[in-house]
Amino acid sequence: MTARIGVVTFPGSLDDRDTQRAIRLAGAEPVALWHKDKNLHQVDAVVLPGGFSYGDYLRAGAISRFSPVMETVIEQAKSGMPVLGICNGFQVLTEAHLLPGGMLGNDHLHFICRDQKLRVENADTAWTTDYTAGQEIHIPLKNMDGRYVADEYTLDKLEAEGRVAFRYLDFNPNGSLRDIAGITNEAGNVVGLMPHPEHAVEPLIGSGRTDGLPFFTSILKKLVNA
């Protein structure tokens, strides 16, 4: 038996199919979820994929956060279901207050697409156990609104609790405070990050590295062993 991992498609989601592919390559079963459907169809975990849901109009993630599927996702996430938000998905998670802080436009005011070096700071979340803490990886990054901000109190708390999950190395691509690339909630089941692990799962394609695959193998192991 393998795990069923849902991938939500919002209108304007772009990396939903890629995320399903990554889940398949990791050996789990991807399940397409639709934003208008509250039913999570018995999935064991959910990924909110990248893209420009609702065109990023108003604020990235702001409109999607109010979709029917999110009602259930928010409820389930609070009771422990693993949820991963990638890029636009991360933005949805902050808008939904499942993760603290918020996302703003890149400080250089441009969209940026690059293969980004990161350090894994927390290898104990539901989505990162196949990494080791301190490991340096390269994951493609592509966003317009990737600047993570939160007040000092929140940032200090995140640091103190080990909830900064990923940090940008060598180059901060968007002006994120404290070089934060991704964070987790207190329980470690909800993780959000700006870079795109689903674009680093096959040699040859995209960045040509497979540094993103452990996200999906981590969750698979956790779910299958649970």
Binding site: R17, D18, F52, G55, F111, C113, R114, H199, G206
Partner: protein, 752 residues
């Protein structure tokens, strides 16, 4: 709003003496008289609106048609061709049951007026052409030309254009995998914003723009119709027929990429369920174009109720609705029993969809408004029987003097130090410098199938995950070459794009083009245009790569001064297994560097002559298409058989530019030796066509040399991948750090 009286067909017949503002709508007197002759009466306002937009240069190709015919007449026999010129985009067979559609289009003028929206809606338009063929769009490319890099207006236009292309394409989820950025003062008031797109489908999913089957419904879906881009119709509406109109109609259209993304998804879902009989995107000339083309390509006629068109602005007149160029709209022909399902899918994606008419058994296009018939035409006369001009053309007097001003006479560097200095100048000049400040604003990764993207020689997309089947695309054009000799310049554009595709290991299959020129009313420009087409058609015939479609953009000039003739050529190729693609970057130290092809003293139009001497004169490099074909075969075989690990084609900037790029990308230097029979300057800077540099693992050296020898391709060993400098032995060395600073610093310094 009521109009007294409504200008119906009846009313028009009864009031033959009413004067219509045909001149303000851009029609010539004889064209208007032709319309009257076709109809046997004066046109209604709505009919005039349709004829005037459809018979415009942009829609009717009236100046270019007689020349464009050559692409068909000289088309090489190609088994790959599934749909040719005339449809929204051409379609080629790439094997394993897949078909690929691709096309390049211009959005030049709007991008000068409003760079962001102009460029964005250019991407939107070309993508709708691709969807309309039945394909899922999989990538975009963007060949761009701007004025001088240091001109203040370039700082306004370029960042806006790039942000617009990125803003739209990124939001659609289309990887941007290639393009060009060229600076030249000749584009100052006329930047060229060309955009290309590729789509993939199964053979059986190809769709065409035709309305067949009496009783089938015509469904308009997507954005509501607003008053975008209808300057002419407003005149018609306000001055002749109406009193209380809002005076302003936007000349610039604003794009909504989110809406277009929904349009893609719902259209593909409708295709998948086989709900669509015929389909057409709404681009230039909006509903006028969509209805007349669908009807004239189908078997019957069409009846449309204009009142049913969902509007963004309720004050629009019927003429304006017919001419509106509001973005993100499509028109589908659907069998009655499938209409409900089609509407359901649109609703699922929150896309507004409305039945606005149906296919009739007649042969007329009839359009109704407020119960009156305001259009009753033979759709062919609107869509296909526009005027055709044989514009006069003549080789300009200055052409001889320009060609006589030979770049070979320019002072050359005299020693290693001067060579070094000029190499640094070259690789840091705006045209040769790294464009990553621009291309990093484009998503290359989305869809998870990008094998190669900029700055590779061609972009490459995997289209089948199992087999690894992929397609490659490159776009090229060199206005300087074309100015010196438009016939040869167009062939060089094709040769370069063809070579770029082959350099990555893909087999070139077919061509699309975007022909950017000045005013066709200037005989000199018309000559450049005619020569370029003749050159391109001849070369396509010889290389066996048919032109499947393209776009013409005329009137790119300010006052009397036209841009350089700029034919931009896109070549599409196929590769059986993307795992065998050849990248530009040097892979491993110790690999041997070979130069393929012949190097001659060819500097006319070269980057060197521009950068060092600000000179344009002489003749462009010679074209040898048989050589290009042989070179391509060698590059493809070498990739298939694993004989080369990297390759880079030689074009503007010559060998040294190519080697510097491969070195910087791979983070590995090169030691070069000037071959016997060549001087260092010619070796480094010549722009002879038909050449590439390849890196050969030592284990493959013999096999590779044998293959080239057996097929008769000149091959010269020029050095080795080594160290952290580009070291031209006995002349100079430049460290990679120094080169990187020079190559990568220029564009950010100019624009950031």
């Amino acid at each position: 709003m009521s109009r007294t009286p409504l200008d119906t067909v009846e009313h028009a017949a009864a009031t033959p003496d009413v004067e219509l503002p045909w001149a303000e709508l851009g029609l010539k007197k004889d064209e208007y008289e032709r319309v009257v002759e076709i109809l046997g009466r004066r046109p209604t306002g709505a009919e005039l609106a349709m004829y005037s937009v459809m018979w415009s240069e942009h829609c009717s190709y009236k100046s270019s048609k007689v020349h464009l015919r050559q692409f068909g007449e000289k088309a090489p026999q190609s088994d790959a061709m599934l749909v040719g010129i005339g449809e929204n985009a051409g379609v080629v067979d790439v094997g394993q049951g897949y078909a690929v559609t691709f096309k390049v289009e211009s959005h030049n003028h709007p991008s000068y007026v409003e760079p962001y929206q102009g460029a964005a809606t250019g991407v939107g338009g070309i993508v709708r052409d691709i969807i309309a063929m039945g394909a899922r769009p999989v990538a975009v490319v963007d060949p761009l030309r701007f004025g001088a890099a240091d001109h203040p207006d370039t700082k306004r236009v370029l960042p806006g254009v790039v942000a617009g292309i990125g803003g739209y394409g990124n939001c659609l989820g289309l990887p941007n995998i290639g393009g060009e950025v060229v600076f030249d003062a000749c584009y100052q008031g006329n930047p060229l914003v060309n955009a290309g797109a590729i789509g993939v489908m199964r053979h059986e999913d190809i769709h065409l723009a035709k309305a067949s089957g009496t009783g089938n419904k015509v469904i308009l879906y997507g954005a509501r119709t607003g008053g975008d881009g209808i300057g002419g119709a407003s005149i018609l509406a306000s001055e002749t027929f109406d009193d209380a109109k809002p005076s302003k109609r936007p000349a610039v259209q604003v794009g909504d990429p989110f809406q277009e993304k929904l349009l893609i998804e719902c259209t593909l879902e409708a295709f998948a369920e086989k709900l669509v009989v015929g389909i057409q995107d709404l681009g230039a000339a909006g509903l006028s174009c969509a209805t007349s083309e669908l009807a004239s390509n189908g078997s019957g006629g069409m009846r449309v109720t204009l009142d049913d068109v969902p509007l963004r602005d309720s004050t629009l007149s019927p003429e304006e609705i017919l001419m509106s160029e509001s973005q993100e709209r499509m028109c589908a022909v659907v069998e009655p029993e499938k209409v409900d399902r089609f509407l359901e899918i649109c609703d699922k994606w929150d896309v507004i969809a409305t039945v606005i008419g149906e296919v009739t058994d007649g042969d007329r296009l009839e359009i109704f408004w407020h119960g009156g018939k305001i259009v009753d035409v033979d759709p062919r006369t609107v869509a296909h029987d526009g005027p055709v001009y044989e514009r006069p053309y003549a080789r300009p007097e200055w052409q001889d003097a320009l060609q006589a001003d030979d770049a070979g006479k320019l002072p050359r560097p005299e020693n290693g130090a001067e060579l070094k200095d000029q190499v640094l100048k070259l690789v840091s000049s705006p045209n040769q410098a790294s464009k990553s400040w621009i291309t990093s604003q484009y998503d290359h990764f989305v869809q998870g199938n990008t094998v190669l993207a900029q700055p590779e020689d061609s972009g490459m997309i995997r289209i089948d995950e199992e087999s690894g089947l992929g397609v490659a695309i490159a776009t090229d054009g060199n206005g300087r070459y074309a100015k010196l000799d438009p016939y040869t310049g167009a062939q060089l554009a094709l040769a370069e794009a063809y070579r770029n595709v082959a350099t990555t290991g893909a087999k070139p299959l077919a061509v699309s083009d975007c022909l950017n020129f000045g005013s066709p009313e200037d005989p000199a420009v018309m000559w450049q245009f005619a020569e370029a087409i003749r050159g391109l058609a001849d070369a396509c015939q010889q290389l066996g790569t048919p032109v499947t479609g393209g776009n013409v953009s005329l009137y790119n000039q300010t006052g009397e001064v036209a841009i350089h003739p700029t034919p931009v050529v896109a070549v599409l190729g196929v590769i059986d297994d993307v795992a065998r693609r050849t990248p530009v970057a040097f892979q491993e130290e110790g690999q041997l560097l070979y130069l393929l092809g012949d190097t001659r003293e060819e500097f006319g139009g070269s980057a060197w002559s521009q950068v060092v001497h600000d000179h344009l004169g002489g003749l462009p490099p010679k074209v040898d298409l048989e050589r290009e074909r042989l070179l391509a075969e060698i590059l493809i075989s070498a990739s298939r058989d694993g004989m080369i690990d990297s390759a880079h084609d030689l074009s503007d900037g010559g060998l040294v530019q190519a080697v510097v790029e491969s070195a910087l990308l791979g983070g590995k230097g090169a030691r070069l030796v000037v071959p016997d029979g060549l001087d260092a300057f010619t070796f480094l800077f010549s722009e002879s066509a038909g050449r590439a540099v390849v890196a050969v693992p030592r284990s493959e050296e013999l096999r590779f040399n044998d293959m080239c020898g057996a097929r008769g391709l000149p091959v010269t060993r020029i050095g080795v991948v080594d160290g952290d400098a580009v070291d031209v032995q006995g002349e100079f060395a430049l460290s990679l750090d120094e080169l990187r600073t020079a190559h990568e610093g220029t564009i950010p310094a100019l624009l950031a």
